[in-house]
């Protein structure tokens, strides 16, 4: 990721292509040999989860950071993507004859899964985005939260059994509160290896970067700053607001899909993975890194993933376990929310704009934050020369 953007500000077309190919090559090598170097599968899982969370954060960043809307239901889109990919991967796996999920076969399974996840999440993003035309601020936030909770509860409360309407029967196969474990509970085939996870995190990260600095991203940021002024220069608020929701939902769908079929991940998707806490984690990632900053969202995603793991590690230490025997209700995972809340409060006091603000790492120009990216300095120079 880092290398990619350093290459971008270099401005040379070929070097960019080389960097892109290099990153994908490294991802490919990771896919084939990572297990030989990193023997602990939980560590491998952690790295890949971090990459997925980078996708979650950078997609939420499109709504919360660039468009200036406030969504607190991002987990709903992630979950939609997760369930879609889980179901399709399981069925495709069955059709292809079962067995071990091989790398070669992942080139069929993963694209199909992720396309379906992205499409479905995008459709729901459109539907959730529509109220954003009339609602703003907290009211819109409630709509997004409502969507995420409805999604979670519809799946969690589906009754097992073969009676009722076709929709109820279909939902009941998703396992309800226990989660979906593939066909006949054999587990979801985990096709997405590091090549897919790291590769997509990189590619979609570049896409997010391009969105921010394109005319489209600029119009979106203009809308965030002042809606009347934006309309007065000809930006259509309706189109931009809804499209930003769709883009964010598509990103979340891909991230959720990847997480569900991630190699070294858990072969089960559970409605509780997509509760409010998950949405809150996503918001924390964006705010921590700096709303509106693509690299900030990436940093936030990595940081939060690793800190969750770190808290689990601390939880497992003998000292904490000994304490737990004394105080049964002690649960560091629950404390995590308190720790995050404190971190956020502190951050808001000390650095309200987040770690990076709207700035980017690897952005050459220092003048303004959230500048106009790779092409702007040249245009600026022309203007000054004139």
């Amino acid at each position: 990721m880092a290398r990619g953007q350093a290459g971008k500000s270099g401005g040379l077309r070929w070097s960019r292509l080389a960097v892109g190919a290099g990153v994908l090559g490294v991802a490919l090598l990771c896919d084939l040999y990572l297990a030989d170097f990193v023997h602990d599968s939980s560590i491998r899982q952690l790295f890949m989860l971090a990459a997925c969370n980078v996708l979650v954060a950078s997609s939420l960043n499109v709504i919360n950071g660039m468009a200036g809307q406030f969504s607190i239901g991002h987990a709903g889109f992630v979950g939609l993507g997760g369930y879609t990919s889980a179901v399709i991967a399981s069925n495709l796996h069955e059709m292809l004859g079962g067995g071990e999920p091989t790398f070669a076969r992942s080139f069929i399974v993963v694209p199909v899964c992720l396309l379906a996840s992205a499409t479905l999440a995008g459709i729901f993003g459109f539907l959730v985005g529509l109220p954003s035309l009339r609602l703003r601020g907290d009211y819109l936030a409630i709509v997004t939260l409502g969507f995420a909770e409805i999604f979670r509860l519809v799946i969690a409360t589906a009754q097992a059994g073969e009676d009722g309407s076709p929709i109820a029967r279909a939902l009941s196969r998703l396992g309800g509160q226990n989660g979906y474990m593939g066909i006949d509970n054999q587990g979801i085939p985990l096709y997405a290896g590091p090549f897919w996870v790291f590769g997509l995190a990189f590619v979609l990260g570049v896409v997010a970067w391009r969105i921010k600095f394109s005319g489209w991203g600029r119009a979106l940021r203009a809308l965030r700053e002042d809606e009347i002024a934006a309309a007065a220069v000809g930006v259509d608020p309706t189109r931009y607001k809804v499209t930003s929701f769709v883009i964010a939902a598509v990103g979340a769908g891909v991230a959720g899909g990847l997480m569900a079929i991630m190699r070294d991940g858990t072969p089960i998707v559970n409605p509780d993975n997509y509760n409010f806490q998950a949405s809150f984690d996503a918001i924390t990632m964006v705010i921590l890194g700096g709303s509106g900053s693509v690299t900030g969202a990436a940093i936030g995603g990595v940081f939060i993933t690793f800190s969750i793991k770190a808290i689990e590690q601390v939880q497992a230490t003998s000292a904490v376990q000994a304490l737990r025997r004394e105080f049964e209700s002690l649960d560091l995972n629950a404390l995590r929310m308190i720790v995050y809340a404190l971190v956020l409060v502190l951050l808001m006091v000390v650095r309200p704009e987040g770690l990076l603000g709207e700035r980017e790492l690897f952005q050459k120009r220092r003048g303004g934050r959230g500048g106009s990216g790779p092409d702007a300095p040249r245009a600026g120079a022309k203007a000054e020369a004139a």
Partner: protein, 252 residues
């Protein structure tokens, strides 16, 4: 200033026909009638001022021209064509630009980005570059601050940016909402000199102002708006010497 638009069709305007015409325009906010039937005409090449006290409906008039508020009655016509069906974006494309009140620029975007957004609807690179040159010539201060964030500019510079941004669309009709609001007198002079120059290059201007003195000295004709109605209209110089105007708006 180069003002001809690269792709927009030129208007067939009969001699003596107004570029902009408002007939009996009514706007209500909830139950409150902000405009009770405004008639107003702006002819090509003119600077027309609209003066009046707070709450008289000046900004609402401009918003009704841009399509930013729904009309409760009446019609807005550009070169004889009713705009009722047109969205705000379409009106911008047809050549109406607004520099909104209170220097509504994009504070977290750079000056250059603000200006580029002004040319949002026509992505003709050459025309954009030319207009950028013209705007920096008109307001050299903006040229010095291209990479600075809009929010870090002084009040006067922000107003220049708002006008510059409106010009980037190469409008036929430029709507200016209180360009003197909260700006140091010296900069106000500069801005109004620039407005006169914009008009000389062929852009028609409708100017809303509370600063009656400078508005009447810059414009050719003026309307006085009072509680949602046109109270007076006429030649700017005549209005400036009108005892009623002097008492009400020019401080004696």
């Amino acid at each position: 200033m180069r003002v001809a638009h690269p792709t927009r069709a030129s208007l067939a305007l009969a001699d003596g026909a107004p570029l902009l015409e408002l007939t009996d325009v009514k706007v209500s906010y909830g139950g409150i009638k902000a405009l009770k039937g405004v008639d107003l005409r702006v002819f090509p090449g003119e600077i027309v001022a609209m003066i009046g006290a707070n709450g008289a409906g000046k900004t609402t008039t401009l918003k009704s021209i841009m399509g930013l508020v729904p009309l409760a009655g009446g019609a807005v016509k550009l070169a004889g064509r009713p705009l009722a069906q047109d969205t705000t974006e379409q009106r911008v494309a047809e050549g109406i630009s607004l520099a909104p009140e209170g220097r509504a620029i994009f504070p977290n975007l750079t000056v250059l980005e603000n200006l580029e957004l002004g040319a949002y609807l026509h992505r003709d690179a050459k025309a954009m570059k030319e207009t950028l040159e013209d705007v920096t010539e008109l307001f050299p201060r903006l040229g010095e601050r291209m990479k600075q964030e809009g929010g870090t500019l002084s009040g006067g510079e922000q107003q220049m940016l708002a006008i510059g941004r409106a010009l980037m669309a190469r409008p036929r009709l430029l709507l200016l909402d209180e360009p003197s609001l909260g700006i140091a007198p010296k900069l106000v002079q500069q801005i109004f000199r620039a407005i006169a120059e914009i008009a000389r290059s062929g852009v028609t201007i409708l100017l809303v102002e509370q600063n009656t003195r400078i508005a009447l000295s810059t414009s050719q004709r003026a309307y006085v708006l009072r509680t949602g109605e046109i109270a007076l209209e006429g030649d700017a110089k005549e209005l400036a010497s009108n005892p009623e105007i002097q008492a009400a708006y020019l401080g004696g």
